[in-house]
């Protein structure tokens, strides 16, 4: 049974996805697998090594178990300041 995740996109990933966010239904159970699917669908060129992951508003690692309804953000290299 697929799970539903809420994705938010920022910076170059937002431009590439063409949207601020989306809800996806997928069999992926951790961020690594999820990003691979999204990268293929949207054509993201950034390798996972260049990104950080946030789940429900906190930093998380790539192998963390995801739960139905989680908010997930793949964070491009930051450039504030």
């Amino acid at each position: 049974m697929p799970r539903h995740y809420r994705l938010l996109y920022f910076a170059s990933l937002r431009d590439c996805a063409g949207c601020d966010g989306e809800t996806v239904a997928t069999a992926a159970t951790q961020p690594r697998e999820l990003y691979a699917q999204l990268a293929q669908r949207h054509g993201f060129a950034l390798a996972p090594e260049r990104l950080r992951v946030a789940v429900n508003g906190e930093f998380a690692n790539w192998d963390r178990a995801l739960a139905d309804g989680d908010e997930i953000v793949f964070l491009p290299p930051v450039s504030g300041g």
Binding site: A11, L46, E58, P76
Partner: protein
């Protein structure tokens, strides 16, 4: 009010500075990041910041707490802009008061360095030649 804040409005450095006042403070160091008219050899026209606000606020607040724990300071505040900014606009402001200047300088530097390194905020530069681009922390372009 929180020590780390995001704002989509023009920042009032003088007003923020007044929040640092303390009768036992002898030193106050402020950092202002301004929008520069050039980067990496290209003429910049304006820029826009995006933030992942909930995590930016949480991570920013952690950095402020680290600064307070590491250095003998009295008060510290950082505010980062979001949205569109013009050349010369104040993009980020950091202010630290302390009994002595060593701690004020060190903590102010620590805060701006960590903010730039860790807080999920992204800068999109719009160049005079019509191009634009998201930047890495080192100023080089990010490919989507």
């Amino acid at each position: 009010m929180s020590a780390f804040r995001l704002s989509d409005q023009i920042l009032d450095a003088a007003g923020l500075s007044r929040e640092l006042a303390s009768a036992s403070a002898g030193a106050c160091v402020g950092f202002e990041g301004w929008v520069r008219n050039h980067n990496d050899g290209k003429a910049v026209q304006k820029l826009a910041y995006q933030a992942y606000a909930p995590l930016a606020l949480a991570e920013g607040e952690r950095i402020m707490a680290e600064a307070a724990a590491r250095f003998a300071i009295e008060r510290a505040i950082c505010v980062h802009r979001t949205g569109e900014l013009a050349i010369g606009d104040l993009a980020v402001w950091v202010g630290v008061s302390a009994a002595h200047r060593d701690a004020a300088f060190a903590a102010c530097r620590y805060v701006i360095d960590e903010i730039k390194r860790r807080v999920p905020i992204w800068k999109n530069e719009f160049y005079r030649d019509g191009a634009s681009g998201w930047l890495h922390p080192d100023g080089s372009p990010v490919e989507g």
